[in-house]
């Protein structure tokens, strides 16, 4: 049972400037879809709207499960997740950051512990689980964000510029993690301004050009 995302004719403007104009998009498969565009082209806005963090001025974002529409409420928000470029680290330990999503779902302590440790191990941060999260490097912080998102086992993961502020070594590590996520059957929609990265990782490539979504066919 996987979620299908259907975006229909969404438009969004800020202070009178149209960022997105009648954009439509459907995503219903596991794998990676990369969204490219220049800075300020509306990639992040598009992703935030898809992840239900922001509302479009017009148009609709709908999710379907087995062909049936899913209500846009907290239970849907718990089936998807968005990793923001600045991930929003909570001022506590690495472990408590990652366990946050499970605690608010009121899971059992043992279950939380095993899932958090698995996620931290997945991104290579297990040995830092008791460290204050705000003392991590930018690359580690980005990996923490992935672990925090992944631990809730979302059906669709939105990644907004996951390697924008990290060095080459951490870019490689994060790309490996994204590949592992894909191998595990996760559905990922990510933005990037790096064409080579988009080609390396994605199964499907979209561009935002002149406020509209264009799909690259090849």
């Amino acid at each position: 049972m996987s979620l299908e995302l259907v975006v229909s004719n969404i438009s969004k403007s800020y202070s009178g400037d149209a960022i997105l104009k009648n954009c439509s998009f459907t995503f219903n498969s596991s794998g990676i879809c990369a969204l490219m565009g220049q800075n300020g082209s509306g990639k992040s806005t598009f992703l935030r709207i898809c992840a239900l963090l922001e509302e479009p001025d017009s148009g609709e974002v709908n999710f379907y499960s087995e062909g049936r529409p899913v209500a846009n409420d907290v239970s849907l928000m718990r089936r998807i997740t968005l990793l923001l470029p600045k991930i929003g680290v909570f001022n506590t330990t690495v472990y408590k950051n990652v366990s946050y999503g499970l605690n608010i779902r009121k899971l059992k302590r043992n279950d939380i512990e095993s899932r958090v440790e698995f996620s931290l191990d997945f991104v290579g941060l297990l040995r830092k689980k008791n460290q204050k999260a705000l003392t991590l490097s930018s690359g580690e912080t980005q990996r923490l964000g992935i672990a925090r998102a992944l631990v809730t086992e979302p059906e669709i993961i939105f990644l907004d510029e996951p390697t924008a502020s990290v060095d080459m070594k951490n870019t490689e590590i994060i790309e490996d993690i994204i590949r592992k996520m894909k191998k595990d059957g996760r559905s990922i929609i990510m933005t990037t301004h790096d064409m080579a990265q988009a080609k390396r990782l994605s199964d499907r490539l979209l561009f935002i050009k002149d406020s509209q979504i264009v799909e690259r066919q090849d």
Partner: protein, 235 residues
Amino acid sequence: MDSILEGFTQAVSLIIHLDPELLKIILLSLEVSGIALLIASTFGIPAGSILGLKKFRGRGFVISLSNTFMGLPPVVVGLFVYLLLSRRGPLGFMALLYNPSAMITAQTILVFPIVTSLCHSAVVTVDPIIRQAALTLGATPFQAALTVIKEARYGILSGVIAGLGRAMGEVGAILIVGGNIAGYTRVMTTTIALETDKGNFELALALGIILLIISLLINIALHLIQRKGMVRTIR
């Protein structure tokens, strides 16, 4: 100079020998200010959090009002509470004037705006990304708001401690509504004022020393909390 030194020596002796009168005054001070702080925080923290998190009509006005009330002159609050609780006042039937309840009421009014304003400041300075991150992880709007408040915890605690400082050092309001009755409503600050007037410096000095120690402890606590809140980024 000699009288000051003598007063100081006697004050130290009162402290060392745990003079019963001195102890009673200290305990009443802590009780009155502690309860006032508890009540003010119970209402002030949620009020400050709502001001920091919710956008509503008149919010700016309420914030300005709260900030203005932070500097309320204690004697004005004392007068206001006195008029409310005096026999001919609207709450006169409760017979609260000249007892510790009146003092707690006055101090609560003084501390509430401090806790509210500083809590509001602490909550609004939390990066908006924290709330968004909580929502992306599946938090309900209420859980996301609690997460923001939790992130502001060190600032909120600083506000509570600043409120305690205000309550402990306050004299004007409790003097008016408490009446400074020996063994009943006499607290540290009012005793210092009275004993200084009478020229009995030893008890006044002893209480002054203790007030300074309490003030120092409050400041140390504040410093430790602020230091704990600041995490040094190592890279």
